[in-house]
């Protein structure tokens, strides 16, 4: 792919995901860990959006009227649920091969989703604005996290909601996310993650504040090897975690 305007995306990272794009929708394929984590991610995302925009989950199309951006949309694992809940969804991915995969699947699911091969920075520059920006498992792959988070903030309408998940940096996360997931379980291709790019929750909150976002919540995603399920935790943010932050509201 050609260089898309000024981008903080690391070219070698994009190539890794392009190779995996066709596997997105196989729950037992290479993206099995993401499929396993997805219900837990969706529980967090949907409850945060519902709380912020005063919507009632369980009613028809609760996210009607909300414009949601998913950055690093991959095969559409988050875009499709958001569209099913009634939102107007834009999914962007810096890996071009993901776009036709995601489009084909959305058509099969009977969902209308605007998938684009572009970056957060390019969208921000074009003046696109959203009620919600989903920034899940992306920030640990970008070259300049502060520039990237600043673009995310620019993409939000005043008072908009930014949800960002990533991986903590400590010996446990190294053991779990790299040795465990990539080498032992073979859940992810080797080299998917680089440990030095992982960010601690405090560092992420600091980066978001510098980017002009107001952090409001953080929770851990915890894997239970007995039940083989992920759950949300208030206390354990030692490996995977998720945060919510708000863009500044318009001055009253």
């Amino acid at each position: 792919m050609g260089k898309v305007v000024t981008s903080t995306v690391d070219a070698s990272e994009i190539a890794k995901f392009e190779a995996m794009a066709a596997e997105w929708w196989d729950p037992n394929g290479k993206f099995k860990p993401l499929h396993m984590l997805n219900p837990c991610r969706l529980d967090y995302i949907t409850s945060q959006i519902a709380a912020e925009y005063d919507r009632v989950l369980g009613t028809p199309a609760p996210f009607d009227g909300l414009r949601i951006l998913d950055i690093g949309c991959g095969g559409g694992l988050l875009c499709e649920p958001m569209a099913r809940l009634g939102a107007e969804v834009v999914g962007v991915d810096a890996a071009g091969r993901n776009i036709p995969v995601a489009q084909a699947h959305a058509a099969q699911s009977g969902l209308e989703i605007d998938y684009r091969h572009t970056t957060a920075e390019a969208l921000a520059e074009a003046g696109e604005r959203f009620d919600v920006v989903l920034n899940m498992e992306v920030v640990e792959h970008v070259a300049d996290p502060l520039a990237y988070l600043t673009a995310c903030r620019q993409l939000l309408k005043p008072g908009g909601l930014h949800i960002c998940s990533t991986i903590n940096r400590n010996p446990k996360s190294f053991a779990m996310a790299i040795v465990g997931a990539e080498y032992v379980m073979r859940w992810l291709p080797k080299g998917t993650h680089e440990w030095h790019k992982f960010i601690t929750p405090d560092e992420l909150f600091e980066l978001m504040s510098q980017a002009g976002l107001e952090p409001v919540d953080r929770k851990g995603f915890v894997f239970n090897p007995v039940s083989w399920k992920w759950r949300l935790s208030d206390r354990d943010l030692s490996v995977n975690y998720v945060t919510a932050a708000l863009a500044p509201a318009l001055p009253a």
Binding site: N38, L42, G58, P81
Partner: protein, 415 residues
């Protein structure tokens, strides 16, 4: 009702769920799904008139507390409460036919549960019409009676079912609630494991002279267990197991001779007894589907598993399937997930298949242990009973299990 009749076959008109089987589980699932905003088409092979008859035919169900909570959660309990007999106590007794009974000392009382009776006895003539009326009154549910399925096709975008009259119904997920001989499972290529016990359960309702005070009795007799379950008034439901040969002979007897065989087993603690409904005979066996799910398909109730009815757990296990599947679909809907995605249906299977296999094995063991004249086994069993009784924690565990309150409870079964 939405879109009954020909509209359902128009291309593009699809239901979220197509439920094959208009029995108790199928109806309960449609009602539970409707609460999550999911539409359902219930295909009942039987004509409606067969389901609505209000005469007492002798059939009744022992509803565990969790099942009662579920019916309450579906808004059905108000209509059922006045016809339901609470079971306040279960007495387990060991005995030999005609001999004075030996009270085993195993005694379960609802006071050991946090709240309410251990369960309720509800007659089929009340439960079935209540469910059918609720189907009629609920938006998003289409009921087609006399609808026999001849074919089913699963595609990437949905599932299509063909009926005997040539019409088709399309939907997102197909649910087999069509019993032990489930055609839905067979058409999907799901095989079953099963075995027979060489025993038959004789089932009937009796009227008796003296009140039962809401006490259920489980008598372990060498030919097989006899359960006496209290119905409203001075009536009880009997589930009585005998060897297949003996049962065939007893079932063939005229009513009075049948009662003559029952009397020495039953004892005289409730006074004179007489028949109060039709007599039924069910060969006992266990069946377990090798999978509870397939692409775009889930099995519930006897289609997934048929257990020995010794502890009245058949309907309760079926309702637990229904509650678990409804729970999984509800949470998926709230998250915006595709309810037909394999990883969603897998959650139902992994939740229920383990529970069911455990229940099947323990019920089997329980029955084998109690249907014996072997003195060594009897001694060991009596010792076990005494231990259970001496350990309140263990006994409470058994009570909670029987009341359906142990394990991971689906939303609908929580109080």
């Amino acid at each position: 009702m939405d879109n009954p009749g020909p509209d359902t076959i128009v291309r593009g008109m699809t239901h979220d769920l197509i439920i094959v089987g208009g029995g108790l589980n199928g109806a309960a699932l449609a009602l539970a799904a409707a609460r999550s905003g999911l539409t359902a088409c219930v295909l009942d092979a039987l004509p409606r008139a067969a389901r609505m008859s209000g005469d007492f035919d002798g059939r009744s169900y022992a509803l565990a507390q969790a099942s009662q909570r579920m019916l309450a959660g579906l808004g059905l309990w108000d209509a059922l409460a006045e016809h339901a007999q609470p079971m306040n106590e279960i007495k387990v007794t060991d005995g030999r036919v005609g001999a004075a009974e030996v009270f085993l000392g195993l005694h379960f009382q609802s006071a050991e549960l946090e709240s309410g009776p251990m369960g309720y006895m509800v007659e089929d003539r009340h439960l079935r019409p209540t469910l059918l009326r609720a189907l009629d009154d609920t938006d998003g549910i289409t009921l087609r009676d006399g609808a026999r399925v001849t074919a089913q096709a699963v595609e990437a975008t949905g599932v299509t079912v063909t009926l005997e009259d040539g019409t088709t119904v399309s939907g997102r997920v197909l649910v087999g609630a069509d019993g032990r001989q489930s055609g839905t499972a067979t058409r999907a290529g799901i095989r079953r494991t099963g075995w027979r016990y060489g025993q038959t359960a004789l089932v009937c309702a009796i009227a008796h002279e003296r009140p039962h005070h809401g006490v259920a009795h489980q008598l372990f007799l060498p030919p097989g267990p006899l359960a006496i379950l209290p119905l409203t008034g001075n009536r009880s439901s009997i589930v009585w197991s005998e060897s297949t040969e003996a049962a065939a002979e007893i079932q063939a007897l005229p009513d009075e001779a049948y009662l003559e065989v029952l009397r020495p087993r039953f004892g005289d603690f409730l006074g004179e007894i007489s028949l109060a409904g039709t007599r039924y005979a069910y060969p006992l066996g266990m069946t377990l589907a090798n999978a509870f799910t397939a692409p775009r398909l889930a099995l519930v109730g006897d289609a997934a598993h048929g257990v020995h009815p010794i502890a009245g757990q058949g309907l309760n296990a079926g309702l637990r399937d229904v509650a678990a599947l409804a729970h999984v679909l509800d949470h998926a809907t709230r998250r915006g997930e595709d309810i037909a995605a394999p990883q969603v249906l897998d959650r139902y299977q992994s939740w229920r298949r383990f529970d069911t296999a455990t229940l099947a094995a323990s019920t089997d063991l329980f029955n084998r242990l109690f249907s014996t004249d072997n003195p060594l086994l009897r001694a060991g069993r009596d010792l076990g009973m005494a231990l259970v009784n001496a350990a309140p924690g263990l006994r409470r565990g058994i009570i909670r299990e029987a009341a359906g309150l142990s394990g991971d409870l689906p939303d609908l079964m929580r109080g």
